[in-house]
Structure formats: structure tokens, C-alpha cells
């Protein structure tokens, strides 16, 4: 089972980096990607923080399966509190960055503080260095990449964050699969990162990612590629709603959360282009099989749903603490309809303990 996954706590103001191993308990409760990111955000983000301030934090995460045969590229997930909604938000960036970050030695980067000048973070083989990069954001993506690669040819993938003229954040993922080029970030997470004066994240690494059952995963993926059809991606008759200690959650949201935890776009169809299907459906059994073969972590459908529910509950409890109100429009409406009120959800014995997030009680109450 994988045990060498690491989190880096990056203080941009002081240019300091602290690293922590990801415990097995954390892996089992949240897997990785957006799951661990949500936990870290709840743990580290100050109460009622201004999204544009230096106190806000941004988390860059690689998915649990990013870089493996099940998701060779995977997706990087960026989590922060944004000014767009005043709530926790995420942005998904496809491309080789997530896999590159894992091979550079880190699963999650927790960015705190604000850099004095426009800074590029270089992540390489277990080290993170700070590089002032004035004018980098004025260049186009390929030029930025060329500038960074000229200084260090080992940089193989990068994620660049800039702000456009209107102040809206845009992410540029270099070398993104299928849709090479820019990916507009509508969540506002890029703007939160730009407020920290981070203009680029570049990574390069040679760290090998261990595979629990190499021949097993080859045979499994080969079988899926050769026999790919829609029936493989269909779940059984699923209930549309999942009930839990903190109220009801839509099943589509459970699947979406799991996709972001694993850092894959689609687990039923690895690339989602064969036979004209879009491959957006997640199959729980296939996800469990792939986790087992790649990492050795044995999970079943129920446990996967539990993990996704836990992540959604954490996010919603955080949003309730920050004060979701009618000004948030549809989000506030959804919370009310599903019974997600502060009174109903923020309860230690009834919600936090059954969900195994009682270590966050002091932070979220």
C-alpha cells in the first residue's frame, strides 16, 4: 500500500516549506485529490477569511490515481475560498501536471501567505524552490514554458496561473491532453491564487510511482480497452439520493466528488472517446478495482460512497460556518431544500463522529 505520499505546507511570505507524510488514516478517509484537499482546507483556513487576502489558502492537489495506468495524466484539483461566491470552490485542470507533481514528490501543496513579488514555484524531486518571475505572466503559454525549460530542462509539465485584463483568473495548463491550451477558470480559484502573487507552478521529477500489482493492472486496463462499450460504464440501478448523518446528497454529486478525489475524468472509459461516448459516468466497482490494483487499498462501493459523502459534508459544513446566505442564490436554495442548515448539521455526536471527522470539530463548529 502506498505510504510515501507527501503534503507540503508552503509559506509564500517567508519562502519556507514544511513537509508531512500522508497518514494511512487520511488516505482511507479521504483518498486524495479533492477529498484530502477539503480536509486540509477545513484544517488550515482561518475563519471568515477574505478570499483576496494573504490569509486565504490555496491547495493544489494531485488525484489519488494520477500518474497511474488508470489515469496517466489525471487532473490537478485546486481548492480555495473564492470571492466569486464567498464559499469553498474548486477548479480542475487536466493535463500532465498532476502526474508530474506526484513524480516530483508531492500530492498536495498548501499555499499560505502572499509572495512579495510575482513568484513561480519550482517543484522538483522532493524540493520546492521559489523563483521570482517578473513579467512571466505577460508571455503566452508556450513562451512561459520555454522560459522555464531554458532554465531547467527537466521541467516537463507546468501549470500557469495568470489574471487577464478584467481581473478574472484563468488557468493555463501546459500540454493538456486533448484540449491543449487554456482552460478558463470560472470558479475564481485562479484569482485567489493570483492574489498570492503565484504566477506559475512548474514541476519535474523522476520519482517512480509504485504499483501494487503491475501485471494485474496491465491485464485489467487492457481488458477494458479491448472490450470497451457503454455497458461497462453503467452502474446498476442507483438511488438518486444518498442519505447520511448530515442529510441527503445527490448521487451525481457523489460520483463527481469521487472523480475529483481520484483525479480522473472518467473511470469507466479511460479517455472517454471510444464509440462516441463521453465517458462521464463513474462505475463504483471499476473504481474500487483500480484502486486495489494500483495502491492495494481495498474498498467497496459502499465505502467509496461513504468517502464521497464525507467530503461533501465537510465542504458544506465549512460553507455553513462561513455563512451561506440567500445572496448565494441557487447554492443557498439547494442547502435549504436538502436540510443542510447549521442547526441540523453542525453536531458533534450526530454528524462529526459518525462521519469520522471529529478532529475538525474545533475548526468547524
Amino acid at each position: 500500500m502506498t505510504t510515501d505520499r507527501k503534503i507540503a505546507l508552503v509559506d509564500l511570505g517567508r519562502c519556507e516549506v514544511e513537509t508531512f507524510p500522508i497518514s494511512m488514516d487520511l488516505e482511507q478517509r479521504f483518498l486524495g485529490g479533492s477529498g484530502v484537499a477539503t480536509y486540509l482546507f477545513c484544517k488550515h483556513a482561518p475563519k471568515m477569511v477574505d478570499p483576496g487576502s494573504a490569509d486565504n489558502i490555496c491547495i493544489v492537489s494531485a488525484g489519488y490515481l494520477s500518474g497511474t495506468l488508470s489515469a496517466p495524466l489525471g487532473a490537478a484539483i485546486l481548492t480555495s475560498k473564492t470571492a466569486t461566491t464567498g464559499l469553498m470552490a474548486r477548479a480542475c485542470v487536466n493535463g500532465p501536471f498532476a502526474a508530474g507533481m506526484r513524480r516530483a514528490g508531492f500530492e498536495h501543496l498548501v499555499l499560505k501567505g502572499r509572495a512579495k513579488n510575482e513568484t513561480c514555484l519550482l517543484i522538483q524531486d522532493g524540493r520546492i524552490s521559489f523563483k521570482e518571475a517578473p513579467g512571466l505572466k505577460d508571455n503566452c503559454l508556450s513562451e512561459q514554458r520555454a522560459i522555464l525549460c531554458k532554465e531547467d530542462p527537466s521541467i516537463e509539465a507546468q501549470l500557469v496561473c495568470i489574471q487577464n485584463k478584467n481581473g478574472d483568473g484563468l488557468f493555463f495548463a501546459a500540454d493538456a491532453c486533448l484540449s491543449k491550451g487554456k482552460e478558463p477558470d470560472k470558479s475564481g480559484v485562479a484569482a485567489a491564487m493570483a492574489a498570492k502573487n503565484v504566477v506559475a507552478l512548474a514541476c519535474g521529477g523522476t520519482i517512480a510511482l509504485e504499483v501494487k500489482d503491475p501485471e494485474g493492472i496491465i491485464a485489467y486496463e487492457k481488458k477494458h480497452l479491448e472490450n470497451i462499450d457503454e455497458s461497462l460504464t453503467q452502474n446498476g440501478p442507483d438511488p438518486e439520493i444518498m442519505e447520511g448523518p448530515a442529510g441527503s446528497v445527490d448521487m451525481a454529486e457523489i460520483k463527481q466528488t469521487l472523480i475529483q478525489c481520484l483525479g480522473v475524468q472518467c473511470l469507466g472509459l479511460p479517455l472517454g472517446i471510444k464509440n462516441g461516448t463521453n465517458g462521464s459516468e463513474l462505475n463504483f466497482q471499476i473504481a474500487a478495482d483500480r484502486i486495489l490494483l494500483n495502491t492495494g487499498l481495498a474498498l467497496d462501493e459502499e465505502k467509496l460512497k461513504e468517502i464521497a459523502y464525507r467530503c461533501i459534508a465537510m465542504e458544506r459544513i465549512y460553507n455553513l460556518r462561513e455563512g451561506i446566505a440567500s445572496k448565494q442564490g441557487q447554492s443557498a436554495e439547494d442547502y435549504r431544500e436538502n436540510g443542510w442548515t447549521r442547526k441540523a448539521v453542525v453536531k458533534k455526536a450526530k454528524v462529526f463522529e459518525p462521519l469520522r471527522i471529529d478532529d475538525l470539530w474545533s475548526r468547524l463548529k
Partner: protein
């Protein structure tokens, strides 16, 4: 004994790296593109990817460059250049000589590695979902290209 070469089509490759990851797992047991026998080159200028493997050149520079005569041409299952690790001293001359940069070096074992076409059934071909990788008889390549060209012309006339 058959002479087959691995052909890659940059127009079909979407840069997914399934081939690279599968190869690294099969050959080294880990997910690491550095250990893969296939390299996916990114061509920023034309926004394309080009998967590259050992071309098993007729007049292979790696064979000429090897001071220990550790690289030779094999005619067993498929025609290819092979490295005799009993003779190899890990001098990296073959890496320098290769025109395509498709010979890698295993730092852990101190020896070079190259594509062996998986004994005639390359794993990367199975993992190439867009069909950018194909194993072909070189004598048939010209006919395949002629067929594509003919189809295009016929289509134009219609």
C-alpha cells in the same frame, strides 16, 4: 522471422501517455516515464505529439558506436537490434549515437535499455486507444500510404 516496425501517427496521437505508462509498468514495475521504452515527444510548434521507439535501423549507429560490440542485430522472432548485457559496460555511447534518442539508461542497474517490441506483440499498441501506434511490415507502408492517398483522391472526385 518477420521484419516489422512500430509506426506512430502524430495526427492520431492525443498525448494521453497510456503507452508510456503501460510500458514502464511492464518493463520496470513502476509508473515512471523515464523507465519507458517509448517516448512521447511534444511538438509545441505544431501542437502535436509523436510517440517514438527504437527504429531498429538497418545501419544502426548504436551498433557502430558500441566499443564492446554488445549491440547486434537479432533475427529471432522479429528483426531488431538487441543489447547483450553480458558484454555491455554501461558507457552510454549508444545513447549518444542514437539519432532518435530512443535508448534510455537505467541508473539503478547502470545499463541502457531500448524497445524490444515485446517479442513481436508490443504492449503500447494495445494501449493506444486512438490507434496512433501500429506494428507494420515496412514493405507494406508504401502501399498503405498509396491507399490513403488514393482514397483521398477518389473522395475528392466524388
Amino acid at each position: 522471422m518477420t521484419m516489422k516496425i512500430l509506426i506512430s501517427d502524430p495526427n492520431k496521437c492525443n498525448g494521453c501517455r497510456m503507452c508510456q505508462t503501460a510500458c514502464a509498468i511492464r518493463k520496470a514495475g513502476v509508473c515512471n516515464p523515464e523507465k519507458s521504452r517509448i517516448r512521447v515527444m511534444e511538438m509545441d510548434e505544431c501542437d502535436q505529439y509523436l510517440p517514438l521507439v527504437c527504429q531498429n535501423c538497418e545501419d544502426a549507429p548504436c551498433i557502430a558506436a558500441c566499443p564492446k560490440e554488445a549491440i547486434s542485430r537479432s533475427y529471432d522472432q522479429v528483426v531488431q537490434t538487441v543489447i547483450d548485457y553480458n558484454k555491455c559496460v554501461g558507457c552510454k555511447m549508444c545513447l549518444n549515437a542514437c539519432s532518435f534518442g530512443t535508448i534510455g539508461f537505467d541508473e539503478d542497474r547502470g545499463r541502457p535499455f531500448k524497445c524490444d517490441l515485446c517479442g513481436g506483440d508490443p504492449l503500447c499498441v494495445h494501449f493506444c486507444e486512438p490507434g496512433a501506434l501500429t506494428l507494420k511490415d515496412p514493405t507494406m507502408i508504401q502501399y498503405d500510404q498509396a491507399r490513403v492517398s488514393a482514397l483521398k483522391r477518389t473522395g475528392m472526385r466524388r
